[in-house]
Structure formats: C-alpha cells, structure tokens
Symmetry: C2
Subunit: 359 residues, 2 copies
C-alpha cells in the first residue's frame, strides 16, 4: 500500500487500523479476512538437519528458509516468513512455534533432525488449529509417491506386487515409507546405516519400531545389499555413493531407482541405467526426473489456506500425489515427474487438496 | 529475485543456497551480509495493551503490527516482520522472542502492557546481542523529548527550571519520564490514576518506586490537579477527557500541553489554547504538533542496523530526539514537531544514532 500523505498514514496505521483490530477482537475468525494469515506460511527451522550440510545452526540455515520463501511466492503466491530458532530442544521449539502461531495461516517445518522432528510435528499438529507440515517428511513423500505412480506405469508393475527398499529411516525415509504404505504398497523394507530394520535388532528408535508395523512383514535381516536382491524399487534418502552397478544387477528386471541423496546420489543415474535400471530419478536438475519438493509444498499449502483447512491430512497428501502424477499425461522412463515450471502443477495439487478439505 | 527457469531455481534454492549457508556456518557474522537480518525488524506484540483498544489479544493486534511494518518500509526501507504471540506470560514471551531472534536484525516490542513490558524489554536487552526496543516506551519518549526541546524555545524557558507533570505511569509515561530526566529536566512529577506518585503511597509497583528516584524530589502528595498547580508542562499519556480549562488556568504562564491520549486527548487542543496554554501537542493528525512514533522508530532502527550496533542506548535516544528537534528550523507554537513525510526526518535520526554507535 503506498503511503503518500497523512490521510494514507491514518488509514494504514492509527486510527484506521483500529477498524480491523476491533472486528477481529469480536470475532477471531475475521483474522483470515483482514490479516496476512490468509496468505502467510512460517518456514521454521532450527538448522539441525540441513540437506547435504547437516547441523549448521539457525544463522546458517536462514538463507535456505529465505530461498524457500521465494519459492512459495513464485509457485503459489504465498508469503513465506523465514524463521530460524536459537534452540534445538524439542519442548522449546514446540513452545516457540505455538507462541508465534497466531501470526500465520500455516506452519512449514524444515530441516529439523530426526527423531525430534516426529515429536515436534505430531505435537504441533495436535496442539495448533492451523495446518502444520514437516516438508522433509511429507513434501518429499508426495513427490516420491507421484513419481512411483508414473514409474509403475512405465515398467507395467502394480503397487500391490512390488518389493520396495527404502534406504534411510530419518525424516524423508519415514515420510515416504508411511505414505506409500498407506497408498497400497504391500512389501516395503527399510534400511538404515546398520542394515535392514527388523524385529531382531535391539538398537531401534521408537520411530523405527513404529515403521516395523507397516514394513518387513517377513522379518528379513541383513544388509542393504541383502534387501536389494530381487527388489523392484530402490528409494535412497540417506548418503551418496552407496550403490554399485552390481547391486542394481541383483534387483528384479525393469528396476526403478530413486537415488535422492543430495548433492551426490546413491548411484549416478547414468550408471544405474547402464546396470539395467529402467526408470531412474534423482534430486539433481541435470538428469531427468528430478524429485523436487517445490512440486508439492506450494500447492499443498495453497490448497489448505484457500480452503481454510485446519490440518494437512494423509488423504490430502495422497490426493496431491495423484494430482501431481496426473500432470504427466504420458509417462516415459525419462518423464515420470512434471517440470516445476509447469503451471498446471500448483493448480492440480491445490485443487486436489481443496477437494479433500471440502469433503 | 525473479525465478524463470531451472537455473534460477538452482541459484535461489538448492544447490545454490548452500554457498551462503556454508559461509555463515563458518562465520556467523556473515549472516548480516547474506541474509535479511541486515534489514529485518521483528514487530512483536502479545496484544495486551493496544493503544486505545486495550487487551485485544494477538489475532486482533496483528493488523496493527502489519500497519507498523508498512511504516517501517515506507519511512526507513526496513523489512518489518509482524509477529503476534499466543501468550501473555512474561517468561514465555521472553523465551519465544529469544528463540526466534536469530531471524532478525532487531526487535521492536509493541503494545505489551505494563509492568510486564519493563521486565520483558530489560531481559531481552540483556540476553540478546541485537537491538531491542519497546517502542511504546522509547519511541514515544524520543518524539516527546524532541517536541519539548522545541516547545521550550517557543516559551523561552529552560529545562533545568521548569516543572513537568507526567500523567500516566505505564509504558509511555515511564519511558518519557526516564528520558527527559536523563536529558536534564530536574522537576518532574508523575501521576497515575490514584494521583501523585510519592513515597507516602503504599500501593506502588516496583516500576513506580524506581521512578521516585528521578521524580518528585519534594515528596508532594495529592491529585493530578494539585500537581498541575504552577506546572510549566503537562504530558498526558493515560486516559482522555481528564483536564478542564480550569486546570490549565492553574498552571504557569505560557504552559506547554502534550495531551497524547488517543483517540480522545486529555483536553482538546483548541480548548487548552483558549484556556491559556501557549504550545499544545496531541496524538491527532487533525491538530498541529502531532506526536507520532513514526518520527522516531524507523530512523532509530535504520541507524542501529546500518551501524551494526548491538543495542539502542539512552545516548542514542537523546541524540535522536535532538536530531528530530533540529529538523524544525524555526519553532513556533504550531510547529515544534516535523512532518512525518519530511524526508530529512529519517536521515537526521538515523545519522544521529549512527554517530553514537560509531563512538
């Protein structure tokens, strides 16, 4: 709003501002109509698990939150508020986010390390009445599920029959595993740095124990290589340079590889292809099929804010993944995921979310 | 930054954003150069003491913080981040502000009720290494002091000799009393809703007891009317419609009246003039001499941010007041305070602050 003279000033500030303030004081719901909460998403991090950089702290994480704010604006027209926190204590983070929550229409948690991220997100979802989403878990999961849906079409396999290996049991691995299980993948094995996550292990965190309820039903034990034998799909969200061509060769025919470690993938896409993989996705923009969270979170938040939904549900995430997959009209091995600059993406995702919200 | 293609995207977000992130991880001071902290001020309120509206809560206070952000941008080019808090507990507010502090270059506290505002500001100033200012105390005080400096010229009286009555011992009254005492006003009487604040009273808060160290040296007791008898200056920052023409008539010749209650002043400026006051200021834009905080806080924060000062000192506030007064080249009864749209204001105030910071 331009301020050119005293009259403008008296509208933008005192006494004009008393109008919306009094209206909201009488009816809190009007905050949506009269303030930036309608359009505002906090992008909150403690800088403890920045992709590819690790625990670099709040000051160093701020440029990443700022970049994300630029993307929110560019792709969904939303106003992102970068907020970095001077604490990595779970209770202090929850208290701080709850304290500032009336400022925002939604909360996007970012780059918070596992397992704290699970508790923080779960508590905030429960204790706040605005949408809260840890993007590293769910944004990634939505894009991966969309990519898998199209990849299965390319290799002509069905979600009920394939064996999936997820390497990494942190935020992304957990979010992906939960979402694809919910969508209908039946045979999922999760591996962490110690190998297959199984009941036989004594070193499992609460989060990994919970994952056992939806994975590894045959109670396999062993290494990542053991898990990969005969697998149809590999999804890597841990460290780079982990797989060799030989590992790919032990997998089933027409294998699907999502080598998402960043900036160095678990195996370079061209090597994976030569070793026999049919569809390869990565986190890199210089290969086909880039798994990029920007395909999901702008549309998801746009959808919940425009429909005034109070939370981002699992059903919305699956609807978002299906909508995102649907933007690719004819999937091929090199095109299972839409381009981030495809204008249909944010419309498809936000409309899918709004449809669930209305229901 | 426009994002037109994948290359732009890879600069604004991953992997480009790792550059500044890693640089800051190595040297936290670079956050000033590489993030919005350079230019960003949090405007934080719990909505407990909104001018003229009272304790309306965070949601209803948000439009006021948004309006203030517009003013920060318009007058100083700074990026204000409106933040409202879901708590009115002193310790929870302090914890929340400390948690989000690495996001900002400075903290502007706003519309937090007394006496909590004193503790909150004092603790945050001590525990944070970025400038913190409760504008209701200090922004107001700076503009009032600037106005008094010029008003004294008009009535040809000296700060050392005049008797000042401050009505209101909340945030504004306390900030004004402290600053004008520091500047050299010797004879100050503070009144609250129970009358003159004096040693004889048993109901004084800690804050009011502290004010006694710099006020009421003769230990007067009585009502506001008692205090006003013979006074040269009245500064009202409490409730409206408090003074009658007869009260003004008991004051010294060429009295100065700052009737700052908003939107209804303690006495209407034209009535005060007819009753004999020589200089009258108010909070209203439809009378001369509007005391408006926007004359002070944009320049003060611009000054400390540009000089990377770690706090806003008393010396800076006095320098800011003198600079602001100096913008009015020839003071008259109807012109003791500059126009907010006078471009020299923010330059004068920020330069004065920077000069102290450099020293």
């Amino acid at each position: 709003m331009p301020l050119r003279n005293r009259e403008d000033l008296s509208i933008a500030y005192t006494p004009g501002v008393a109008g919306p303030a009094l209206a909201i004081a009488k009816n809190k719901k009007l905050a949506y109509d009269f303030t930036s909460t309608k359009n505002g998403v906090a992008i909150i991090s403690d800088g403890s698990a920045v992709l590819g950089l690790g625990n670099i702290g709040p000051e160093a994480a701020l440029p990443i939150m700022e970049g994300k704010a630029v993307l929110f604006k560019r792709f969904a027209g939303l106003d992102g508020f970068p907020i970095v926190l001077a604490t990595q204590d779970t209770e202090e983070i929850i208290a701080a986010v709850k304290a500032i929550a009336p400022t925002f229409g939604g909360i996007n948690l970012e780059d918070i390390s596992a397992p704290r991220c699970f508790e923080i997100e779960a508590r905030l979802k429960k204790e706040l009445s605005i949408p809260v989403m840890h993007d590293d878990q769910h944004g990634t999961a939505v894009v991966v599920l969309a990519g898998l849906i199209n990849a299965l079409k390319v290799v002509r396999k069905r979600k009920e029959n394939v064996k999936v290996v997820v390497n990494g049991a942190g935020a992304a691995g957990t979010g992906i595993t939960k979402l694809i299980a919910l969508y209908g993948f039946k045979n999922i094995i999760v591996c962490d740095s110690k190998g297959i996550v199984s009941k036989s292990r004594k070193d499992l965190t609460e989060n990994k124990k919970r994952l056992l309820k939806i994975t590894n039903k045959k109670n396999l034990s062993g290494t990542l290589s053991d898990a990969l034998r005969g697998a149809d799909i590999f999804i890597g969200v841990s460290q780079g340079n982990l797989l060799k061509a030989e590992d790919i060769k032990t997998m089933a025919n027409r294998a699907i590889i999502f080598a998402l470690a960043n900036p160095t993938p678990e195996i370079m896409p061209d090597i994976a292809k030569i070793a026999g993989a049919k569809v390869v996705a990565s986190g890199r923009s210089d290969f086909p099929n880039q798994v990029n969270n920007v395909l999901a979170y702008p549309g998801i938040f746009k959808g919940v804010l425009e429909s005034r939904a109070r939370e981002i549900s699992d059903e919305m995430k699956i609807a978002a993944a299906l909508a995102l997959a649907g933007v690719v009209k004819k999937s091929t091995a090199d095109r299972i995921i839409p381009d981030p600059f495809d204008k249909r993406v944010v419309i498809a995702v936000s409309n899918a979310v709004k449809k669930i919200a209305r229901r």
